[in-house]
Amino acid sequence: MINSSIYIQSQQEVFDVVIVGSGAGGGMAAHTLTKAGAKVCVLEAGQPFDPADPKDMTQLKWPYESLRRGASSSLRNFGDFDAAYGGWDIEGEPYTRKDGTKFDWFRSRMVGGRTNHWGRISLRFGPDDFKRKSIDGLGDDWPIGYDDVKPYYDKVDKMIGVFGTNEGLRNNPDGFFLPPPKPRLHELMIKKANKALGIPTYPSRMSMLTKPINNERGQCFYCGQCNRGCSAYADFSSSSVLIKPAAATGNLTMLPFAMAREVLTDPATGLATGVSYIHTGTMQEYTVKGKIVVLAASAGETARLLLNSKSSRFPNGLANSSGVVGKYLNDSTGASRSAIIPSLFNRKRYNEDGVGGMHIYTPWWLDNAKLDFPRGYHIEYGGGMGMPNYGFGWGIEGLNGRENFTRDGLKKAAGGYGATLKEDYRRFYGSYVSFAGRGEPVVREDNYCEIDPNVVDKYGIPVLRFNYKWSDYEVKQAKHMQETFEEIIHAMGGEPMGKKPGADSNYGLADPGRIIHEVGTARMGDNKNTSVLNSNCQAHDVKNLFVADAAPFVSQGDKNATWTILALSLRTSEYIIDQRKKGNL
């Protein structure tokens, strides 16, 4: 369906701000800037999405309403009801890897981006997370500290809503929290086991509204399906919570199906003048003009856009006189394990869906100075009597023959069929727990993405090529995660599932990119030779160009990135408003 007559269509209107991307960063920028009266155009490569629209809504659907019973497909990699249109591999939009290294890149092509299905784990970075080099000499410090970002975290908490508890933890700062949901049964068991082991457990901090906060959004009704998008808008997604009210101002022009190709600049002044994009339906190319350009396309796509925006004035790509664009790419570490808890066999049935995800979590609790790896991780917990789905009961032959899983004193051979097998499935239901560590890697210049010299996507845009390797730091951290998980499992009287991941599999350390927390490709800094952006996320080289996604991150933290993306995007947006008022932009 490529139209041979691709042409550049010039638009009349010059927007105050053109934003690329409608996820957490783009949504927050659009919200803040339109509320301040700016005329804003947002380009989104994907399609519209509204979880309250029956056409898009999957919330409260049953597995048998899916032909594949909720299994994943090439078009929905996290299951047939998950609110992520796109995935690890999108037809016609390839990416490549260098020298046999690994990196997997998840993209959601829809208004709101990946915030539609994310886990809603909403953690602030703490003071140490901005200053790791000062602590252990590795990586780099941010040019800003917790005190610079704190006021924006506070505003984000109040604007968007997050539940949790103030615990007075130095590196897991207090916030403005809604009441947390009570722990489920398996979560109480984990908490008890952790107490005996000296591992702290706290109510999780997640962005669902356990109390209403305004008239536009409803209250959580505990279906446990936040990843499908909420028809009551009771959880945070950029589409429902930021783009929608931004559109209501009348100041937003939201363009879905718009795949940005490059940032355009004035050859004389070197300033950004707008963005060119391909309409994904017609394959026609257009430009949209703006006085200011904000990139919030995701760490990967933002780097790609900058590197693809080459001109005689910017031969290495835009805002890249330092050569740093694409470098220092880093994703959270991740390792996991699951277990079965015999004391939960044949448990009483009741509705424990709760919020979509864990009600408790464990922030990093140890001192790395006393360990053989430099950075921490937090633990996420899963389990309970969830909705049966594709995959239910799979692999029972690995369970029902185990020594201490016998029923009525009868030892039976693993596997089987018939009435006793049917009974086994009922007995094991709701007895599983899972553990996932999410940690901070040490950022490296030689983990990067760049433009592949030979490959373009179906829009003719050169694609990213990734080069990424974990170091011993991350492998040792994953080993520690596995040891911790087994300790907890045993303290609960549980049995770990499968073989303990060992050195041969890097202790289960997930391949880079799999945790979908990629950050760092246009990092901020005070030195323009070693960073792309200043501490306000403004390009050193192009003063009307800003970045509002996770590309500015200097390091990952042992937290999830979204709350910091939101806080930094808000901070940058307020800076833009301030600079406009002062006539500096």
Binding site: R69, K182, L185, L188, R349, A414, G415
Partner: protein, 207 residues
């Protein structure tokens, strides 16, 4: 908010990019030419097209499906609490899922063929033609991976796949979900673990 209002508020017409792009009509024509499949609720257009293609495809034949029905009911039979696998719709589920996940195609087709060969060897007839007792004679030899005779290992692999698909299909059906007594997927107020359950496990919210 209705989708139309949402789009309107976004500065778009319900057709697409009328505010912005002059070739609105071209997009519309392109999509209507490409897209004969109606988009059902909860599916994207691409999904609707993919699912229509899959549903039109014929892979397993009647004999294979009849064999699956018998085998799945051996794995999950009816009992006092609920019906059998086939009564819950497992055959139709397996018919679809082997097309949707093509990695199952050859193991399923070949496994069913293996079963008929084994049945022929033992009883001179296909699996669906032998008696219930004769079927169990074969199943008992391939249903227990830990103790099955070594020379039947391919049969064991096939039966394990059948067990997994049957269980997943049954317990994700309306009948299977009722059997498990899953209580959720409905708006409610979570107030914590019921008191009697806390007591049963010796746990409390005060600890």
């Amino acid at each position: 908010m209705k989708r139309r209002d949402y789009l309107k508020n976004m500065g778009l017409s319900s057709l697409g990019l009328a505010v912005f792009n002059p070739d609105e009509k071209a997009i519309e024509n392109l999509e209507s030419a490409k897209v004969p499949v109606k988009r059902p609720n909860g599916r994207t257009q691409e999904e609707a097209e993919m699912e229509a293609r899959l549903q039109a495809e014929v892979f397993l034949n009647k004999h294979e499906l009849d064999t699956i029905t018998i085998l799945s009911d051996i794995i999950i039979p009816a009992d006092g609490k609920s019906g059998s696998a086939s009564q819950s719709g497992v055959t139709a589920f397996i018919e679809f899922i082997v097309k949707d996940k093509p990695e199952f195609k050859t193991p399923m087709r070949g496994g069913l063929r293996w079963l008929d060969s084994e049945s022929n060897k033992r009883f001179g007839k296909k699996f669906i033609e032998i008696t219930a007792a004769q079927r169990i004679n074969i199943v008992d030899d391939i249903a227990y991976p830990g103790t099955a005779p070594k020379h039947l290992s391919q049969g064991v692999s096939f039966f394990t796949l059948m067990r997994n698909l049957t269980a997943t299909g049954f317990f994700s059906s309306k009948m299977g979900i009722a059997d498990l007594e899953y209580k959720g997927n409905t708006p409610n107020q979570w107030n914590g673990v019921p008191d009697d359950v806390l007591k049963q496990y010796g746990l409390s919210y005060d600890a």
